[in-house]
């Protein structure tokens, strides 16, 4: 599981994930993922276009980050989600906590407008 980050401005970063957000995949990046976002209360747009798979562990990781960020008036959005992954996210109604967007531009605007 690969994770790249890019600063997009004050308290906003872009994360690009590549690989599978399955049990071993999440195990390998969860600590780094949460550490990047949570302590500083950074909002993030996440490029999911190279994520081929997600299971409940991946959902938990994303939801856990979103929850911690909410307390700090920050939020998460995803974009470029692959079809099958999108169906799973839809099934668990992840939209209640995390914006799922069609493009990076939309994802950025979603987190910017959520920030208090």
């Amino acid at each position: 599981m690969r994770m790249d980050t890019e600063d997009l401005g004050p308290r906003l970063i872009k994360i690009t994930l590549a690989g599978r957000l399955d049990t071993p995949g999440v195990d390998s990046i969860e600590t780094r993922f949460l550490a990047t976002l949570v302590p500083n209360g950074n909002s993030a747009v996440i490029d999911m276009s190279q994520v081929d798979f997600i299971s409940s562990m991946g959902i938990r990781m994303l939801v856990s980050a979103a929850r911690s960020l909410k307390v700090r008036q920050a939020s998460l959005s995803l974009f470029g989600v692959q079809e099958q992954v999108s169906q799973i996210l839809e099934l668990v109604s992840i939209g209640q906590m995390i914006h799922v967007c069609a493009s990076e531009a939309e994802a950025q605007s979603a987190v910017r407008s959520s920030v208090a």
Partner: protein, 374 residues
């Protein structure tokens, strides 16, 4: 309630069971005869093959015109259980596929002979003993859940009628309604994920909290607050991984407004007099218990005189048809408004669902609640 599905009688030939059983090892092979509304019956498959048919000479006699005289045979070949059709008229089906040649059975396989269903199980003796204890617990739990459901209301500003059919495995459905005060009526439905005593007891715990209004600092008139509070209280890591879906609504009699919210639950449907289609009343949110500190959106609907609300669990529509297709919400919704039997709507819907279903007990609890607003 299910007599129309099981029209024949079933008799076991005791000598089949007196034949030498499989060598005493850990594992036993069993056929479980599943009859709706009754405890299932377990038959051990031993060295002697079990023949199934209408003929009196069969080990398992099923007196039913859908079954041939010599219909099927279940036997152990080289340590594996094999099912074989004996040239029956209507065929023998394993997991929906008609047998043309003998087929090895995998644990859990469903064997359909005429209108009857048997399940093949491979279990240790220990497992069997525990399972029998569990079945007794399930029967108790089932009775307990039923005792919590409120009586139908036949007059007043809101009238209710309902149907509740627990599955043989007890699916964790529950629902209820009550007057919060003279002007405010609450309706809710929950569905705990999974089956068994655990799921049933979890649904009972949730219903209890609602009946006792045992949530601190909650405005019961606010569906969003109620769900948020329940969610924090019933987090899955404290409840053995249990999650449930829920639909909760509050009706204000004087303003004729229904406020509602939901967590992972499909919509309820409102039939307004004079309008063609039904209106879905739903909200998208995660199941209760998945993660703490969630907020739930609240929506509302204006309720005209004579409107009817239909609230039902997924066991009402996720029913396997006779052709083997899994039903969906879109198969059920058109039934609402297709015809009307005022006061017996829940019964009409249940009947229609069962008519289209394949033989055998329903796989999941089925709850249908219908409320009419005067």
């Amino acid at each position: 309630m299910d007599d129309e599905i099981y029209s024949g009688t079933v008799r076991l030939d005791p000598s089949a069971m007196l034949g030498k059983p499989a060598p005493v090892e850990e594992i036993g092979h069993y056929l479980v005869l599943i009859s709706a509304g009754q405890t299932s019956r377990r038959i051990q498959i031993g060295e002697t093959a079990i023949t199934i048919g209408r003929g009196q000479d069969q080990a398992l006699v099923i007196s039913d015109t859908s079954v041939s005289r010599h219909h099927a045979r279940i036997s152990i070949v080289d340590g594996e259980v094999v099912a074989e059709d004996l040239g029956s008229t209507n065929g023998t089906f394993v997991n929906g596929v008609r047998l043309k040649v003998p087929r090895k059975l995998v644990h859990g396989a469903a064997i359909k002979v005429g209108n009857h269903v048997l399940r093949y199980e491979r279990r240790s003796k220990d497992d069997i003993r525990r399972k029998e204890a569990l079945d007794r617990e399930l029967a108790d739990a089932s009775a307990y859940v039923l005792s919590l459901l409120p009586e139908p209301i036949s007059d007043g500003p809101i009238q209710t009628e309902w149907q509740f059919v627990p599955s043989t495995q007890l699916g964790g459905d529950a629902f209820g309604y009550f007057w919060l005060d003279q002007q405010t009526f609450v309706l809710f439905m929950i569905d705990v994920s999974g089956h068994g005593v655990g799921a049933a007891m979890h649904s009972v715990a949730v219903v209890d909290v609602l009946r006792q209004r045992a949530l601190p600092d909650v405005n019961w008139r606010n569906p969003g607050q109620v769900l948020a509070s329940l969610n924090n209280r019933f987090q899955m890591d404290r409840y053995h991984g249990m999650l449930f879906t829920m639909w909760y609504a509050v009706y204000d009699v004087s303003s004729r407004t229904l406020s509602y919210s939901a967590a992972g639950h499909h919509p309820a449907y409102l039939l307004t007099p004079g309008q063609g289609a039904v209106t879905p009343l739903g909200v998208k949110a995660m199941m209760v218990g998945a993660t703490p500190d969630l907020t739930y959106p609240v929506e509302s609907a204006a309720i005209q005189e004579g409107s009817v609300l239909y609230l039902f669990s997924d066991g009402a529509f996720e029913v396997t048809s006779a052709a083997g297709a899994q039903g969906t919400l879109n198969d059920f919704v058109p039934l609402i408004g297709a015809s009307r039997e005022p006061g017996a709507e829940s019964d009409r819907l249940l009947r229609t669902v069962r008519q289209g279903a394949r033989p055998g007990p329903l796989e999941d609890d089925c709850s249908i609640l219908v409320a009419t607003f005067a």
